[in-house]
């Protein structure tokens, strides 16, 4: 018996304690991030209204109607003390009120959520595909270390990993769109299509950005998976199993994969936190108007409400995905002890 009953129970309660602990830390982290973003906007030099309205709008209103400014300030609770403002800000965030974007004449929540959808259209398939490719190639390269695949893939991924994604994107764009004219050079859809034709059209538009994203993610996934497999392969019980004459395939699937997949899944979870925002460069080059692109234009236009929400959203995503990874790890790994 590996787990005597009483001990197993204790083990479970400890796991619960660890998970609870992690959850608390995450909540604290989110609170910290929310506070940081408040500080960024409010303690910057100058009138905080500039940061909320964007300079363009601010100066226009200041010029044409200074009284209007006071009214807007009141609306955003900027007339109170710093403490009052902070409380009001927290309240707004709890009610998911992220304010109004002056550069786009729309509620920030609407804009960002709508754009988030398009980032997900790109990022979810990219994550899944690169997870699969990375795992399959990594397992093989790790299992047959120094085999043909390993010898080709390892240097290749190393080199590919050093090219910034915007550069890869530019090269793809020049080659496939400008030169070969196989794919559209920008945008997400042609318009005027419905049903199947629409889906095909969107897929056609996403081919290039998706490929670039899959390529770069597969490289890092490959490197991770390979090292996990090599690590597990070297463990004593695997060596014992092989020595005992257990068929190699069985060793691979029963033991190696089971153990190597655990850290891999954790890594994938962490990656999921990046998908919301990790595609800025690709989105900019291919004019894919998702979260990353909106963030970039918000910075150009000094649209602070949008920047603030992007900041909060990406950070919260990261926190959630890392807690997910932690919980998975704690639940799945029998060897976990208090860390």
């Amino acid at each position: 018996m590996l787990f005597p009953f009483r001990g197993f129970e204790r083990d479970l309660s400890m796991k619960r304690k660890i998970i609870l602990n992690r959850l608390l830390i995450s909540l604290g982290t989110i609170f910290l991030i929310v506070t940081i973003s408040f500080i960024l906007v409010n303690l910057m030099p100058g009138d905080p209204l500039v940061n909320i309205m964007g300079d363009d709008q601010y100066y226009r209103v200041k010029y044409s109607d200074p009284e209007l400014l006071e009214e807007i300030a009141k609306k955003y609770g900027l007339d109170g003390s710093l403490g009052e403002r902070y409380v009001k800000y927290l309240g707004n965030i709890l009610r998911l009120d992220f304010g109004f974007s002056f550069t786009r004449n729309r509620s920030v929540l609407d804009i960002v959520l709508y754009r988030l959808r398009w980032t997900l259209v790109l990022a979810v398939p990219a994550t899944i595909l690169s997870a699969l490719f990375g795992a399959l190639l990594g397992i093989r390269a790790g299992w047959y270390q120094n085999g043909l695949l390993d010898r080709i893939m390892t240097p290749l991924t190393l080199v590919l990993n050093t090219i910034p994604t915007n550069c890869t994107a530019i090269l793809f764009l020049t080659l496939f769109s400008y030169k070969l004219r196989l794919f559209p050079i920008s945008g997400m859809a042609s318009g005027g299509l419905t049903g199947g034709a629409y889906i095909r059209d969107v897929m056609w538009h996403m081919c290039l950005p998706l490929s670039v994203m899959v390529l770069s993610r597969t490289c890092s996934n490959f490197i991770h998976m390979k090292s996990y497999v090599i690590q597990v392969k070297g463990e004593e019980y695997i060596l014992t199993a092989v020595a005992k004459g257990v068929p190699k395939t069985k060793v691979l699937f029963r033991h190696v994969l089971k153990n190597a997949l655990l850290p891999y899944v954790t890594i994938l979870c962490m990656q999921f936190g990046h998908i919301v925002s990790g595609s800025v460069m690709i989105e900019v080059v291919f004019s894919w108007v998702g979260m990353g692109n909106v963030m970039n234009t918000a910075i150009s236009a000094s649209d602070f409400p949008i920047m603030q929400m992007c900041f909060l959203l990406t950070a919260v995503c990261m926190v959630v995905s890392s807690i997910l990874a932690d919980v998975l790890y704690v639940l799945l790994d029998p060897r976990i002890k208090e860390v």
Partner: protein
């Protein structure tokens, strides 16, 4: 083990199939590759094309596909935002009071006519009796009165603070300005922007920007809004039946927005759009090679009423010193500026700063000359000599000289402005004047405002006068230190102020032109500013299917006339 291997293979195959499935869409027909710049086929000074011959019945355009870089996100009659906002400058969905013709003069838009009183203080507006809102209600003088009230009370237009409105009948209304104002200048300045608002929709809306009702797109222009596909950034409009102004030849219009000019150009080349319309954003000269040699596309070159220019700071030495300014104007390599900004299509500017296609352009003024040796001589004579032998000149008092170059803070032009600044730096370096780029102003809006507004402390300022502003006052507004109209200027020369005020108070085009001529004389004499080049604007369009385009200078082939003149070949 084989299984994994097979799995990999299967997956790769699947991926390949997905990829090939995606690319199964017909690839755009290959056309000529971009080759080395061909000889200019369009002269820089092309005159607007003549109207199509009336002898045969012109064929209707089923759909006109316009590409723009403004986004399809704001659809609200009362704002200028998004592609909807800028398309309305062409008398599109919104009924404009005044639209501009190809000669830059205001003409009645959706209104039948207007008249300005002899004292130049009131405007009387006459409505046609068959003008309807897109929801079927008739447009009456109540709407006109409402529009001005709304602009004054809700949109807070300071200009309208003290106006008096009178209703002269169902289809006639008069707006009267207080003593000292100019009705003519108001019309000239509001042309293309001022829209008629439907009273029955907006009278109860307090916050016009946040209003999301479906009827916020109701106007009384020749087109009505049909739908928008936000994912594809494509908006669709259709012509209003029996519009009072005459037969509309373009039945349907689609406006697709692109993220960049590159994408726009490629779309035009791939026949996804028929014409390009960017408000105040002509196609960058660096993109010309992609279209040159394509027989189906025309670059749509027209002389640009707007221009890039240097404004000298009068609050700082040495730019408040005439010899120094003169030396700078002699040191600038105008050909290189022309190439950098406009590619091949430009002319050397004159001392008057205001470019050729503007009303009141002064053709008697001499062209700028590039003469670094003369520039050096001017500096020597004025006492700017290199005292300490470091290769750079000191000021007449012997203090080291380091001139600040402040570009306008504008994200969409940041690259070009930086390039212009680099050329200036190099040019001045050649005559021994040391310069520094005001990088803070380039990257921080706050720093830029502090530097340039309300008695700015800049020395050499690189500004841009849009063709829109050029149409009613132009470059002089940027130069003058006159807090009511502009923030950037630092010059208060009495002769100049005099001429400037005359332009503002003019009551007719004759007066306007006369005072403009005078303004340019003063500028040429004192050199408070210098234009880099008299350039061109490019708004490319396709020529294979449609004809009858009229290319408005600095504006392009999409303009208030497009709807009535463009026809199918």
């Amino acid at each position: 083990m084989k299984k994994t291997y097979l799995n990999v293979l299967a997956l790769l195959l699947a991926a390949l199939m997905i990829l090939s499935g995606c690319s199964a869409k017909p690839a755009p027909a290959p056309s000529e590759p971009a080759t080395t710049p061909a000889e200019a086929s369009t002269p820089a000074e092309s005159t607007p094309a003549p109207e199509p011959a009336e002898s045969t019945e012109p064929k209707h355009v089923e759909v006109l596909r316009i590409g723009t870089t403004s986004t399809n996100d704001t659809f609200n009659l009362t704002t200028q935002g998004g592609s909807f906002g800028v398309m309305n400058y062409n008398s599109f969905v919104a009924g404009l009071f005044w639209e501009r013709d190809e000669f830059g003069k205001p003409q009645p838009g959706a209104i039948k006519d207007y008249s300005i009183s002899d004292d130049n203080l009131s405007i009387t507006i006459y409505l046609p009796e068959n003008l309807y809102w897109h929801d079927g209600k008739q447009v009456t003088s109540d709407d006109i009165i409402f529009t001005f009230e709304y602009a004054r009370d809700v949109l807070l237009s300071s200009r309208l603070k003290d106006i008096v409105l009178t209703r002269d009948g169902d289809y006639q209304a008069t707006i009267t300005f207080p003593e000292g104002d100019s009705a003519f200048a108001y019309v000239n300045g509001q042309t293309s922007w001022l829209k008629i608002y439907p009273k029955h929709i907006w009278e109860n809306v307090a916050d016009n920007k946040e209003y999301m009702g479906e009827d916020r797109v109701i106007g009384c222009g020749p087109y009505r809004f049909v739908s928008v596909d936000e994912d594809a950034q494509l908006a669709t409009y259709e012509a209003v039946e029996n519009y009072w102004k005459g037969e509309i030849l373009v039945d349907k219009v689609t406006v697709k927005s692109y993220a960049s000019q590159e994408a726009q150009i490629m779309a035009l080349r791939n026949n996804e759009i028929d014409a390009i319309y960017n408000y105040s954003g002509p196609i960058s000269a660096t993109l010309f090679p992609t279209l040159e040699g394509d027989p189906n596309c025309d670059l749509g070159i027209s002389p640009d009423p707007g221009n890039y220019m240097i404004m000298f700071g009068y609050n700082e030495a040495p730019t408040n010193d005439y010899p120094f300014r003169k030396a700078v104007t002699l040191a600038l390599d105008y050909d290189l500026f022309g190439q950098t900004i406009y590619g091949k299509y430009y002319n050397i500017p004159t001392k008057g700063v205001i470019p050729t296609p503007n009303m009141g352009y002064n053709s008697s003024l001499p062209e700028m000359t590039y003469d670094p040796e003369a520039a050096k001589a001017v500096l020597e004579e004025a006492g700017y000599v290199d005292v300490d032998g470091d290769g750079y000149r000191e000021d007449p008092q012997g203090q080291p000289l380091n001139v600040l170059i402040t570009p306008q803070n504008n994200k969409s032009r940041a690259e070009l402005l930086t390039r212009i600044a680099a050329v200036i730096a190099d040019n001045l370096d050649k005559i021994g004047v040391k310069t520094t780029l005001d990088e803070e102003s380039l990257t921080s809006r706050e720093a830029w405002s502090a530097r340039s507004e309300n008695g700015g402390t800049y020395q050499i300022y690189i500004g841009y006068c849009t063709s829109g502003i050029a149409s009613y006052i132009g470059a002089p507004m940027y130069i003058v230190n006159y807090t009511e109209t502009g923030w950037w200027g630092t010059w208060q020369d009495p002769a100049y102020m005099d001429a400037y005020n005359k332009v503002r108070a003019s009551s007719s085009f004759e007066e306007y032109e006369a005072s403009m001529l005078e303004l340019q004389e003063v500028i040429a004499e004192q050199l408070p500013a210098v234009s880099f080049a008299f350039g061109t604007s490019s708004f490319p369009y396709r020529t294979d299917k449609l004809d009858g385009w009229i290319n408005f200078p600095g504006w392009g082939v999409i303009n208030p006339k497009t709807w009535y003149t463009t026809y199918s070949k």
